[in-house]
Amino acid sequence: MTEAGMTEAGMTEAGVTAGGEPLLRLTGIVKTFPGVRALDGVELEVLAGEVHCLLGQNGAGKSTLIKVLAGVHRPDSGSLLWHGEEVSFSGPQAATKAGIATIYQELDLVDDLTVAENIFLGHEQAAAGFVRRGRMRAEATAVLRRLGHGDIPVNRKVGRLPAAAKQIVSMGRALSHDAQLLVMDEPSAVLAHDEVANLFRVIRELTSRGIAVVYISHRLEEIREIGDRVTVLKDGRTSAVNLPARTTRTDDLVTRMTGRSIEYVFPERAGRPEGESAERTDANPSPALLEVVGLTRPGEFADVSLSVRAGEIVGIAGLVGSGRSELLETIYGARKPHSGEVRLDGRRLAPGRVSSAVRAGLGLAPEERKSQALILEDRIYRNVTLATFARYASAGFTRAAAERAAAAEIADRLALHPRAVGRPVKTLSGGNQQKVVLGRWLLDPSTSTPSQAGRSGKSTGTRLLLLDEPTRGVDVGARADLYRVIRRMAENGMGVLMVSSEVPEVLGLADRVIVMREGRVVREAPAGELDEETVLDLVMAGSLLEVDSP
């Protein structure tokens, strides 16, 4: 295996510019999780003193690769050469000890400890079991000074520092471990423009002393500015290695990230072939079901206006941090908007009130299925009816039989597997758990309790469904299933507003696409008028317009 991997890597040698033994070389790394092949033969070569950029769409395997480097995951096969020697990290400590430090996107700092304590967390300077606070403070100051930030007070609690300073503290921790390789996962995502410039100064300072940096970012202009070489990941494979960061054309990079080989099987648009949806909407403007006007939450999103018609799927494309999940939750009433309003059928929804949104006919399938949507220990049918059990009840008494019957019918419609609705939901696979969440909003209690339907005179079912990353953590086969379910919901007259980081998913499923970047809507168009590269480019900060020439 190793031999074969080495020869494969040999062909990449042509792209190597600098000479000498690489600091790190990965060959043929494979890592599978149940149902997913997250890494499928990844190559990576990092030289001492370079900034090596990792590029790839969400789900391409970047996070898994980082975790392999950090010693969190052990690869199933493939070799990891560190200083030319084959190594296998038994855990994160082993990787740190070897000299690989990882700075995750959500910084793993302890807010209630001071800067100095955070820098030396896990390897406190101690004598006979007593922490040598003075020495730790002095060394922390020295480390921060090396990063050009002697101004950060080492006695301050980290929780009170701004995001940029926290990042520096994280890097300080890496330096205190004598790291030779620093892996940074989207370090600029939380930073403002001038802070990014400062971060780059620090990175250059590190590389000038021979420390290598693996830099992950979605912003192409950053990669051009700070990067030396680029490796592109696509569907768990390396689609290009060691491209020169400054001279490779943008469209070349984007092409290598797109055109995914993973099959996205989208259901046919019933009686609505590609492109026709646009005409239809122009010719026959049915009234909007959902209207969002000027919705703003400072720091998350600003002045967002959009509308969704009955039977229409509107997709929001955007990176993590573009404000899309926050927008969905605000529409749903789980967050209170600073300004702007949400109307369903022309009636204004009470801001920040989930229960009234649900009563009005909104449903949400949240981003974090396990922590936000399901009671894992509880039975399937009770999870399906979590939002509606009160409407099945009569005079405050729940009717388990009616709930079971309704959930069983949903299970049949969604081809839930297994169909036994009395089982705990935790025993289901990710895709089937997501079906349970979707099924929750398919229930229409009015049809099973005639007395109530007669009283209210209209359907009490969900009319607008908000989907946040509906296929996250769902394996490829189950995705097609979910797409069919979502499409069928829309065909039955439900409006759907969905968010996804996977551009092909948005384009394949939605009738209309809204692109968000940094909390604002930057483009809105029928799905037929957009292609993957255009959207990806809009999502990643309009780089085609700015740096097209090599």
């Binding site: 989930v354 009563r359 009671i375 979590l386 059990f389 009840a393 009395g422 089982r423």
Partner: protein, 365 residues
């Protein structure tokens, strides 16, 4: 590995108590003959887990009876003496049992109520002041229930709308309510001279003491409330996953307020029972009830993290505790041994539940 086995053998129709036994025997264990499979299949299903836990507690009770029969055969092996001894045990268990039932709702919802003992004392002294007693038994009962409920409501509002941690809010209430009880009573015992109240502890109905009947009625009502009403469903949902409940449109805060008010109401009921038993109201009533109630609920299999628990388990937990106390009393053993035994029982019960005594029953042989 065990997960896999469970998946394969669980009945496919989702109604473990009803499905066809023939199907199940085929999936459960083809090697064995047909007899008794519906019971076995049901035992292996997750649905039976609370029942398995409760059977474990019943087994513990049986062991305690066995110890009784061995140490005091003169009581435990004579039907009529055993009956009167067990009535004593049940009476002993009744007031703490009512408090533990309220506590069950609180813990299932993911909270904790440290103030129950103090609320009991407060309700007890408030309903036994001379001026209250002058209005008669009905007013005293009304005052005790209202004081308990209002104090519980205060807890609920502080927790739900003041966003205080339940531990902190009820800790404050525990201290303050005990102090208020001492202030009202002037730290003296308030003797009850109203016959309607003292009758609660002295009269019997159909051969059962009223205290036991109250405990049983509260337990039955609580069982219905937890298992058959939307309120019970909400309580379990917010304890199981508060964020999921909120995003499903459940009003988490309103439910929390009602839960703590319910716990307070149970304290009010228990206050009347204790007052009747002691023939007096006192700010010392309900001392350490919070710890005993929490211990009983935990022994009963309710998860301290919330989401899962049963009323039957809590009742059995209280009975186990009372039976141990009774064994020590009938054997004339010192109280310190009793406390040690109670501590051991708490640890043993939780350990046994963690290692799933029921898995022995489920394992295919």
């Amino acid at each position: 590995m065990t997960e896999r086995v469970k998946v394969v053998t669980a009945p496919a129709d989702g109604s473990p108590d009803k499905g066809s036994p023939a199907d199940r025997s085929a999936t459960a264990s083809p090697a064995r003959p047909d007899s008794g499979f519906s019971v076995r299949g049901w035992f292996r299903d997750d649905a039976s887990e609370p029942v398995r836990r409760n059977l474990g507690l019943i087994a513990v009770l049986l062991v305690l009876y066995g110890i009784g029969a061995w140490s005091r055969p003169d009581i435990f092996l004579h039907a009529d003496r055993l009956w009167s001894n067990e009535l004593t045990v049940l009476t002993l268990a009744s007031s703490i049992g009512v408090v533990a039932i309220g506590m069950t709702f609180v813990i299932i919802s993911g909270g904790i109520d440290l103030s129950v003992g103090a609320l009991l004392a407060l309700a007890s002294v408030w309903c036994t002041t001379l001026s209250t007693q002058s209005y008669g038994a009905a007013t005293m009962i009304f005052v005790a229930l209202v004081v308990g409920t209002v104090a519980g409501l205060t807890n609920g509002f502080l927790i739900a709308y003041g966003r205080m941690a339940p531990f902190i809010a009820t800790l404050a209430a525990m201290v303050a309510a005990r102090g208020l009880a001492q202030k009202i009573s002037g730290k003296t015992t308030q003797v009850v001279s109203v016959k309607g109240i003292t009758d609660i502890a002295q009269r019997k109905f159909l051969g059962l003491p009223w205290l036991v009947i109250i405990f049983a009625v509260v337990a039955v009502l609580a069982w219905v409330l937890l298992n058959r009403t939307t309120f019970g469903r909400r309580s379990a949902a917010i304890g199981g996953n508060g964020e999921a409940a909120r995003l499903a449109g459940i009003s988490v805060r309103r439910t929390q307020v009602i839960i703590y008010a319910l716990s307070g109401l149970c304290c009010g009921i228990a206050a009347l029972m204790v007052t009747a038993q002691a023939n007096s109201g006192s700010s010392d009533h309900g001392n350490l009830y919070e710890l005993q109630a929490i211990a009983a609920v935990i022994i009963g299999g309710t998860a301290l993290a919330g989401g899962r628990g049963t009323i039957v388990g809590s009742v059995l937990g209280v009975l186990v505790f009372s039976q141990i106390t009774n064994l020590f009393i009938v054997n004339n053993l010192a109280i310190e041994y009793q406390l040690i035994a109670q501590g051991v029982i708490i640890v043993a019960a939780v350990l046994i539940q963690q290692f799933r005594v029921g898995s022995l029953l489920r394992r295919p042989t």
